[in-house]
Symmetry: C2
Subunit: 269 residues, 2 copies
DNA sequence: CGGATGCGTTGCGCATTACGCGACGCGGTG
DNA sequence: CACCGCGTCGCGTAATGCGCAACGCATCCG
């Protein structure tokens, strides 16, 4: 019998991996949209296996709570067990790991590169980056630092008290960099008011960006989520609209962070 | 060969379920604590299979991103794929489903019954319930309604604007029920201030409760999370401490809710 | 009304595949 | 250095999961 001899089965399974399990997991991974419903036949097509195989895989996943069906037959949705495990999986993961899926989604939707920064040694340290879809875009900035007063994310970190400006002169990266502390304070006040920060060529000419804070429930700022791209795509007129999307994603990440620890220490009443 | 002939394998697999997949999923379900790390040998023991089998199952789960290992070998933790799927799984689930795991955890920790209520027709409708561990406790209240002014969750819904009191006299469920509207308003104001509500025998003599709001990011109140029990266990002196736990769990649920929809509608810049 | 299409499930029989076994390499401990 | 426990890897076997096809059930349409 040739069984499932179809070409290379997408990714030929390496040493010591179990076929049926890989297929089951590929069923789970087939879900990409929230609230998505997939039929057995559809899954069979995607996995390139027989209906019956997909049916049995699905039945197994359902009985373990990883999938769920609305009625007796037909629609498959992600199950409650995944809610539980998702909650657990978030714990013990670092901020960039938690933020990654959301950042990827945002970068894919808007096409521009998204970065995640935290304060470090008086600068903004980039600890996460999701590439956009354009050929022209932000270089790899992971692990690099940028001045707080000349970037959108740096300004956010300043405005929300996550970072403080080192003493001394404010260096001028470009002619448009804000070097006057009073002017900077005014911009930070406005930033705090509207909830997001921007940068228009003040770090590098032709580079624009918007950033929003990732706020913990107690109001402290944990990091800044930033979207940047060339000024001819990330236009000044669009900054507000983009900022809304970035701020939304930032709140989503904050919500994920809030899930991290379980309920508080076990001391009863 | 007897293969894995060990007794009944916990739950004997029904019709058309796939053994290896079930085992793989049982590995995932073995994780119950946040940040938990399990070794291959430990998993083999729990599943009652040979080390090599557990190793192969784990390898498959790792290669699909459902598990992850710190170093080359050794520690297994839940993987990033579960973070992604957990986020998706939350979407399209109803509030009680989302809240369930958190409520169960709280009920198990404190021993008392936890309920979830939303406003409905001028009353508080209970849409979720996790039983406590004591023999004496709240009866099944699912689907039932209670007056807004005489319960802790009802007061929360009132105070946070999720519900409005129907016109007319406030009925006295017990001698301790607040029937004076001015007195009620005063209590609601205080409730809003401190963030949680209580009820001491004003719904039923001997029954105490504390409740906290489940607040959406925009500040609106979606539901109330309530813990209740007999007054000799849920003592007046302990209400504040209990309320802190309930409020914490409520915020956790709110965070889960905030994950529900994906990023906003696809309209680009 | 009934043939046709597409869905999901179940029984069957075969051989693929996943299993248990044991060997090996490693790291920590007495 | 022997010992233990860990994780992985070949091997050979047979148990198991697969494809096949038949069935029941909806929906659609001539």
């Amino acid at each position: 019998m040739s069984r499932n001899s179809s070409a290379a089965d997408t990714e030929l399974l390496g040493t010591g991996r179990i076929q049926s399990v890989e297929r089951a997991l590929r069923i789970l991974r087939a879900f990409t949209e929230p609230g998505q419903r997939l039929t057995v036949a559809e899954l069979a097509r995607r996995l390139d296996v027989h209906k019956s195989t997909a049916s049995r895989l699905a039945a197994t996943l359902v009985s373990a709570g990883f999938l769920e069906r609305g009625g007796e037959n037909d629609p498959l949705v992600l199950g409650p067990q995944l809610v539980r495990l998702g909650r657990l999986a978030v714990s013990g993961r670092s901020l960039p790991e938690i933020a990654r899926p959301v950042m990827d989604e945002l970068a894919a939707q808007l096409g521009e590169t998204v970065t995640l920064s935290v304060p470090d040694a008086g600068q903004a340290l980039t600890i996460g980056q999701s590439e956009g879809t354009f050929a022209v875009g932000l270089q790899n900035w992971l692990g690099k630092r940028a001045p707080l007063h000349a970037t959108s994310d740096g300004k956010v970190l300043l405005a929300f008290g996550a970072a403080t400006l080192p003493a001394g002169e404010l260096s001028a990266r470009t002619p448009d960099t804000i070097v006057d502390r009073a002017a900077l304070d005014a911009e930070l006040a406005q930033l705090r008011e509207r909830g997001w920060g921007s940068s228009r060529g003040d770090f590098e000419l032709g580079l624009n960006g918007v950033a929003a804070p990732i706020l913990l429930p107690d109001g402290t700022c944990r990091a800044a989520l930033c979207l940047s791209g060339p000024a001819y795509r990330v236009r000044s007129d669009d900054l507000a609209a983009l900022a809304a999307r970035v701020a939304f994603a930032a709140r989503r990440i904050a919500a994920l962070l809030d899930l991290a620890p379980p309920l508080p220490d076990p001391q009863d009443a």
